[in-house]
Symmetry: C2
Subunit: 269 residues, 2 copies
């Protein structure tokens, strides 16, 4: 059945949707059958991206690789228990439809704590948590403090992931491969970036995650959103003469390396 | 009574907490009495910053300007109506305590839609919405689309703000001065950044907001979080010989210009 990739981090704007978009397109380009689920019921960035992609392909008279996409609806009753039941049912139905027909499911999540977002964590085979090079971002994993003695208390998001891991082990002894991905890394490495990298390496052992190389802050990772394309696609100017710009090459390399780092189960012969 | 500054944007990671921190310290340095309310009950970035600031001042044996700070607690019953009543009461009490004793209240908000976050919007005299130079960020204000004919439908966050304005006008005919602030602007302006700036200028007329110059992406805006300092404070290396680094000067200038752009009511003689 499908290998589930969840992209999550309770911290806002770390790049969950950007990573979901590029991982999905990367796997599609590699020939895999990919399904996607957008759990960000209000913002729907992933859903909007694929709407733009479909619309662009139609007006260009071409076809572009598309995943089998599910956008979940928001539960909107005043009763939390009622909402949760409805959301669980919709999510379970979506998973059921895809788990036997697709090789990968990529699930994008919102930055707010919710029943649905926590449930997604327990379903992950691979959990990718993008993070910015910033102590504000580290603080949701482990409390930053100038005083070494007061540093390091496990914070609310790391807690959420550890709890999801416990639940998963109880259910089916399943393992969650947790990958931390530095995102929007600056071209020039500052002392701050070095310190962040060092903090993350220490945390990796304590929280049992591994770190991926990271994606730099590149305009090409965001400027194609209105037309639903990525650096992995044949972008018009680049398509002339088949020569890729340096930025498109660099972006493709970073996404390729990310997918390799994920050590996803590859299809048999 | 106090002039209320709300820093909000439903999009995650646009810099709400960073702007809240620097606006607060900027106003304190200018000698104003400032109170702060942290509505991000789970992540508490603003609260964590002031905890770090207090702790750093104590270990350094100095005093640092501090606002009168309120961190709201999360409502945690299973009944939404019940939570909302509790949160409203706590928020109303916090406002009541400060509105006559302080000149400014800065309210930081979480990136998720909630009763409390919406209520804060209706209380704003000044609403600052930071935004990244990205179509993904524009999309929560107005739907981006390659096809000019399909572009521009008002999106969910702009909707939320317009609704808050309507409610406010009904309550006390009050006006919300909505300021859009481009944040994490790259040093080199790309075509993408130019397009974003142009989209924002068009939206400004339609949604009735004005735009502020913007803050560049500067490591100094984030590297001092663990010690609760900002570029506006006397940072150790900079304090030697009283010479400020270029980055500290540039950051101070940007925060100064931001506060000026806010056109806040200044105290009488
Ligand atoms: N590697 C990158 N290079 C350039 N821009 C990026 C990169 N990653 C993310 N961005 C931009 O940063 C912003 C945040 O990214 P994104 O929306 O993917 O994060 P998110 O974690 O999904 O946010 P949210 O918490 O709101 O769901 C967006 O404007 C996006 O275009
Ligand atoms: N102008 C800036 N220069 C450098 N880094 C910045 C700047 N503004 C924000 N950041 C960094 O970007 C990230 C997001 O900023 P911040 O946490 O203030 O946003 P937010 O809108 O409060 O996020 P959330 O939606 O999670 O509450 C943080 O890592 C922060 O340190
Ligand atoms: Mg997202
Ligand atoms: Mg914040």
């Amino acid at each position: 059945s499908a290998h589930v990739i969840v992209v999550a981090n309770e911290k806002g704007g770390t790049g969950k949707s950007t990573v979901s978009i590029h991982t999905t397109v990367g796997l599609l380009k590699a020939g895999y059958r990919v399904a996607t689920i957008d759990l960000d019921t209000r913002q729907r960035t992933l859903t909007r991206f694929f709407e733009n992609r479909l619309s662009w392909a139609e007006q260009a008279g071409t076809t572009l690789e598309m995943p089998f996409h599910h956008a979940l609806d928001r539960g909107d009753s005043a009763d939390l228990g009622d909402n949760e039941t409805r959301e669980f049912t919709a999510f379970a139905n979506a998973i059921e439809q895809i788990e036997h027909d697709y090789e990968f499911v990529v699930i994008d999540t919102p930055a707010s704590d919710s029943y649905l977002m926590r449930l997604a964590h327990s379903l992950a085979d691979t959990l990718i948590s993008p993070i910015n090079d910033s102590f504000i971002d580290v603080d949701v994993f482990s409390r930053v403090h100038h005083d070494r003695a007061k540093r390091g208390a496990i914070a609310h998001y790391a807690d959420l992931v550890l709890e999801a891991r416990r639940r998963r082990r109880q259910v089916d002894a399943g393992m969650i491969d947790w990958v931390l991905l530095r995102n929007r890394v600056a071209a020039l490495q500052s002392n701050n970036a070095k310190q962040i990298a060092a903090s993350i390496e220490k945390l990796a052992t304590e929280l049992q995650f591994r770190t991926a190389e990271g994606l730099h802050d590149r305009v090409i990772f965001r400027e194609l959103f209105p037309i639903g394309l990525t650096a992995l696609d044949a972008i018009e100017e680049a398509a002339r003469g088949g020569v890729l710009t340096n930025s498109q090459l660099a972006a493709r390399q970073e996404i390729g390396e990310l997918i390799e780092t994920l050590r996803l189960p590859v299809r048999g012969p």
